[in-house]
Structures are given as C-alpha cells and as structure tokens.
C-alpha cells in the first residue's frame, strides 16, 4: 500500500555565493545588509532578498536620508547593482555624498605580515618552545582569520566615498526631470495611476530584465540589485489616481505601486528601501494600508524640535526607532528582537541603533546633592574665611 507522505529528502542545493549576502540563521532566507550593522541585528540579521523595507520619515527627514545613503554605500562596497530614485532631491547629488567605509582590510594585512615576519625571524627555535603552563594548547592549530567576504561594513560620516568608486558602481539615477520626461512621452495614459509611479516601475522592471536579476534566470553568477527610493509618496509624486475620482486624498497610486513592487521583487534578486513621508498623509487609514503592503516597516521619530529633546531620559539619543512590522516570510511567526524599545543616535562619525535605556540615576543625583544650591547664603563654618571658596574641601 502506497502511503503518500509530504516528506522529501532535502537535496543540498548548489551554493551560489553572492558577495555581500548571507543566509539567515532563522529561516534560511538570503539576507543583505542595510549598511547599518546595528539595524541588521534588530531585523534578525539583515534584509531578506526580494522584500521591501519601508522607513517612515521623521518630521525633518534628514535621518531617513542618512539611512538611504548607508544603504547605497553598502551596495557600492559590496559590488551590488544600484538604482536610486527621488522626486524631492536630485539622486545624483545624493550619491555624491555617500559615507566612506572604514577600511580595516589594509590594517589587518599589515598585522598578519608583521606576525609572519616575526615568526620567520624566530625561526625553528619557536617550534621547539614547549609551553610550560598552558601546555594543553601546544598542539592547537594557530588561528588565522579566514578571509571571508564581509557582510555589513562600518562607515565614517565625516568622510565622503571617493568619486571614482561611486561612479564606477554605475548607479542608475531617476530624478524628477526624468519622471516628467516620461510623463510627457506617454500620449494618452489611463487616468487611474499616476504616471510617475509607472515610470519607476517600468525602470525597475527593465533593470531587472537587462541585468538578469530575475530568479527565473538560472545560468551565470547572480548579483543583487539594490533599489532606494527617497520620499516616495510626497506631493511631488502626484496622486490623482482613483478609480472613481471622488477627489479623496487616499494615495491609491502609491498603494497600487507598492503592490506591484512587491510582486516584481518577489521573483528577483533584489531588495528595496523606501522612505515615505507618512506625516504628510491626511488619512491615518492610508498609512496603515501602506504599511500592510510592505514587508518590514520602521518609523523614525527624531527629538529635534520636540519637547523630548529636553527630556533627561533621552539625553543620549537623537530619536526613537519604532518597529512597526517585521517580515513574516515562509513561517507562522515572525522573529521578534528581545526588546522593542529602540532608539537611534547620530554621532559625528556614525549612525547607530541602540536599546533605549535610561541614564544611570546614581551619578545624576549624586552630583546634584553635592552642588550646593545656595552656597552664598550658608554661614561659612570652616576655618577659611575667604569668600571665594573654590572647593568644599578648602579650609
């Protein structure tokens, strides 16, 4: 009697390593880095290939733009194909201002070479050296850091990436003038969807087809296509897409575009980073719908211009990071990080994501107690009669 079973022997797939990627430890998906290693850790290792990351911009939008730069810089360093689009700013200017990677490869090379010369100079006497204390480790092989293709790099915000490196990456830029030119070319378009969204989708599809990024293409070495779209859905994109023309501001074109983008990316070696000015949307329901159509959703809330900047609890941070949605792909339950209280911090050289914690209370209060609030009113009981007492220890 033949019993049908869903059990299949797992045949080990041929490993095609793509630079700058790694398989997820949780669900075997191929991941790429966002360029911010601390964000990768929050997202469970990185961004899954074929998904869309949505960043809801903060009120002044500078930090979301910074994340776009990190995302593009990581693509340049990893040798990925890149596309950038924006209606609000010129993407050409954006890519001229990418942060430079902190290059630790030469330093490592020099240290290993010096170690080798030292070992050579010590010669055979080194081999005869018997360990007298930690003798267990005598026969252990010497540890050599394996030269692996690195996943995720660190960047220095004070330096710019070299222009030839950026230009050599061949970044496909799509600016507002390109969008308008496409709109003019279309003679009589159906009125439902804004032409500018169509233009972006058309370009993405063309790029995937030309660069053979589709998963249907079996032959050859694959590469990753990174797509960054800055301020999608801002007023410059123009909505005006409704099946009924009720004149409601409900961003139908944006929603249609997001669904199409998801469908396109699912079958391609590609990831997409979108930043959306959700604070400009009139309808709270629209924001929810936009979030539902993306795979991973983050919201940045900077303290700039809000009362939270003065709050001593937030003294160490630049803003809060809200995890709205984590991807649930090929599994029942999405992996959650250990804490959802996250904040971001921008220092002179770097942008990091950290767990939100309060500053230690001890030092704060201790220093306050020692500071005499009204030192001049107290009668001086000490031996010193001088009025200009610099320290309490002075007599």
């Amino acid at each position: 009697m033949a019993v049908s079973t869903s059990f299949n022997k797992r045949v080990k797939a041929k490993i095609r390593h793509i630079p700058g990627t790694k398989p997820s430890l949780y669900n075997n998906q191929l991941l790429v880095s966002t360029g911010i290693p601390s964000l990768d850790a929050v997202l469970g290792g990185g961004l899954a290939v074929g998904t869309v990351l949505l960043v809801e911009e903060d009120l002044h939008a500078t930090y979301a733009q910074l994340m776009v730069k990190y995302f593009l810089a990581e693509g340049v360093v990893s040798g990925h194909a890149l596309s950038a689009a924006s209606a609000d700013i010129d993407p050409d200017q954006l890519i001229q201002d990418l942060p430079a990677p902190i290059d630790d490869v030469p330093s490592r090379a020099t240290t290993t070479s010096t170690e080798q010369t030292e070992a050579a100079s010590q010669g055979s006497g080194d081999a005869d050296n018997k360990m007298s204390i930690a003798w267990r480790y005598q026969n252990q092989p010497k540890v050599q850091p394996a030269p692996t293709a690195q996943f995720g790099h660190y960047y220095n915000l004070t330096k710019r990436m070299e222009a030839e490196k950026v230009n050599g990456a061949g970044i496909d830029c799509l600016s507002f003038t390109d969008l308008l030119a496409y709109e003019r070319e279309q003679p009589s378009s159906p009125p439902y969807t804004s032409c500018r969204y169509k233009c972006v989708l058309h370009k993405i599809r063309k790029r995937i087809e030309d660069g053979k990024f589709s998963t249907a293409v079996k032959s050859g070495q694959h590469n990753i296509l990174r797509i960054a779209i800055h301020s999608l859905g801002s007023p410059l994109w123009g909505d005006g897409g409704s099946l009924h023309n009720h004149g409601e501001d409900n961003q139908v074109s944006l929603l249609q575009f997001l669904l199409a983008l998801r469908a396109t990316l699912r079958t391609a070696f590609s990831v997409c980073l979108l930043t959306v000015p959700s604070h400009l949307f009139q309808d709270a329901g629209t924001v929810k719908r936009v979030e539902r159509l993306c795979d991973t959703v983050l919201r940045l809330e900077s303290f700039a211009g809000s009362g939270k900047a003065k709050n001593p609890a937030f003294r160490d941070y630049t803003g809060l990071l809200h995890l709205i949605k984590l991807p649930c792909l090929n599994e029942f339950v999405s992996r959650m990080p250990e804490t959802l209280d996250l904040a971001f911090r921008v220092r002179r050289k770097k942008f990091t994501i950290e767990k939100l914690h309060l500053p230690p209370e001890l030092s704060d209060t201790a220093s306050r107690e020692q500071d005499d609030p009204v030192p001049s009113l107290r009668p001086s009981l000490g031996c010193s009669s001088s009025a200009t007492r610099s320290s309490k220890l002075d007599f």
């Binding site: 378009s189 249609q256 669904l259 329901g285 929810k288 029942f332 339950v333 959650m336």
Partner: protein
C-alpha cells in the same frame, strides 16, 4: 497541532464543514495562521481546494504548510489544489506592459469571479469531496482603488454562484466552503466597514486582534470566534474568546490570563 485551530473553530468532525462561510479578520498581520491551518487541514482531508492570493506568492504558502506536514506542491501536482496568483493578475491589469483600454481595470473583479468559478468546476470534476475556496486578503481590492460597494458586490455574487448556481447540478445538500481573510483597521473606515459587512454575510467569523497592552512574547493575541445560526444548519449562536501563542508549526490556545508564562 492541527487540532488546536480546528477544535477552536469547533470543526470536530471533518475539517471545515460544508457550505460554511468563514471570515477571518485581522487588525494586524496576525490572523494568517488561521488561514494557513484551515488550508492545510482541507488539503490533508483530500478536499479539492482553490487558493487565490493577492498578497503572497505560492512559495510562501508551500513553505508554511510544509511546517504543518502538508505539501501544497504535491497537492497541486495531484490536481487537488489550484493556486491562482491574483497578485500577478492585479499587477498586469494595473501596470500593463503595453497600453490597454480603461475598461480592463473596471472589469477585473468580474473576470476574477469567472476565473474562480471555472477553476472550482474543474477541481470538482477531478477530486472528490466538497470544494474549498480560500481568498487571501480581500481588503487588497480597497487598496487598489475599488469602492466598498464593488468589493461587496463581488463577494455576494461569488457566494451566490458558489452556493446556488454551481451546486444546483449536484444532488447533494452540501456546498462549497468559502474561507476569506480580510485586514482592517479601526481608523480606516472602508476596511472596517468591509469587515463588518462580510461578517454579516458569513456563517462563522474569527476576529484576531493583538493585545491591547501591546506586544507580548508569550501571548501573541486574542481570537474571538462567532458561530451564526442559519436556516440550513440550525445551531446555537455562540461566541468564544481565547488568547493564543503562535509556535513554529501551529498555535496554542488558552483562556485569557492563563498563559503558561504567568501560571
């Protein structure tokens, strides 16, 4: 593992009953597990299943159901399951490669209805048992710009066709079971109304919500099931609310406040 969702829904004999209309509502992305479990149970029972998705690709459903021990791939090969990639069809309609007339978009819902009925007819000829139609996220139509009325008309017409036209030829009393997932948000008037309207037409609905106190590692949310009385299948109108915790291959249900983490 199956039994947890099935027994919660009260399907003690058979997987999802006959001629039921199950509406699954979710306010966050947390009701998917009910859909996956019902889908797996139906496939396991060898009922003909038609799955139409407007949010995910086939690979996703296959990978999830493999965790419950059911292979949708082999069910497709055995002609027991038919997957309709509604996502691709929507995209082809709204973002065509070449210029297409305007009416194409307006008639999308009609064409989709015809397509579903046709594939169900095919399935009925090839497999035994009462068919099951699963629609993943009907609220996507609202996002695409369709009006609430149009989506409701689509659903009502589909239900009528399934229960009255399609089954008129067969002598059995039983009919197709419809399983529909919809996402809603209380701030979004249209999706909220759609969820309310759909429950009014259903015979059974499940409302999956997150906890009001926010995310919790040990309690993923709360599910409320409502059984409605109907003329064909008289039963008690009843509701049941339980909390659940999702696991790698299923869900664990418990009464509110009795999570194993707190007892």
């Amino acid at each position: 593992m199956f039994s947890s969702v099935n027994s919660f829904l009260g399907f003690d004999r058979g997987c999802i009953g006959n001629r039921e209309c199950l509406i699954i509502g979710q306010n966050e992305e947390n009701g998917n597990f009910v859909l996956h479990q019902v889908l797996s149970a139906a496939v396991k029972e060898k009922r003909p299943v038609c799955l139409v998705s407007f949010v995910q690709k086939f690979h996703h459903y296959n990978a999830v159901s493999l965790k419950t021990g059911v292979s949708l791939q082999s069910a497709t090969e055995a002609k027991q399951l038919q997957f309709i990639d509604g996502l691709e069809e929507l995209v082809h309609t709204f973002f065509p490669e070449t210029y297409q007339p305007v009416t194409n978009q307006e008639n999308f819902l009609d064409r989709m209805k015809e397509k579903l009925l046709k594939s169900l007819c095919c399935l009925k000829e090839q497999a035994h048992g009462q068919p099951v139609l699963v629609i993943d996220d009907i609220s996507v139509f609202l996002s695409m710009g369709y009006h609430l009325d149009e989506v409701m008309m689509f659903f009502k017409a589909l239900q009528e066709a399934l229960w009255f036209s399609l089954d008129a030829s067969s002598s059995t009393q039983n009919g197709t079971t419809l399983v529909v997932l919809t996402s809603y948000d209380q701030h979004d008037r249209d999706t909220w109304s759609l969820w309310k309207f759909l429950t009014a037409l259903s015979s059974l609905d499940v409302n999956v919500t997150g906890l009001q106190t926010g995310y919790c590692k040990d309690v993923h949310g709360q599910a409320c099931v409502t059984w409605r009385d109907s003329m064909d299948a008289p039963r008690q109108h009843a509701t049941k609310t339980l909390q659940f915790k999702l696991m790698e291959n299923g869900a664990e249900f418990f009464a509110a406040g009795t999570s194993s983490a707190v007892l």
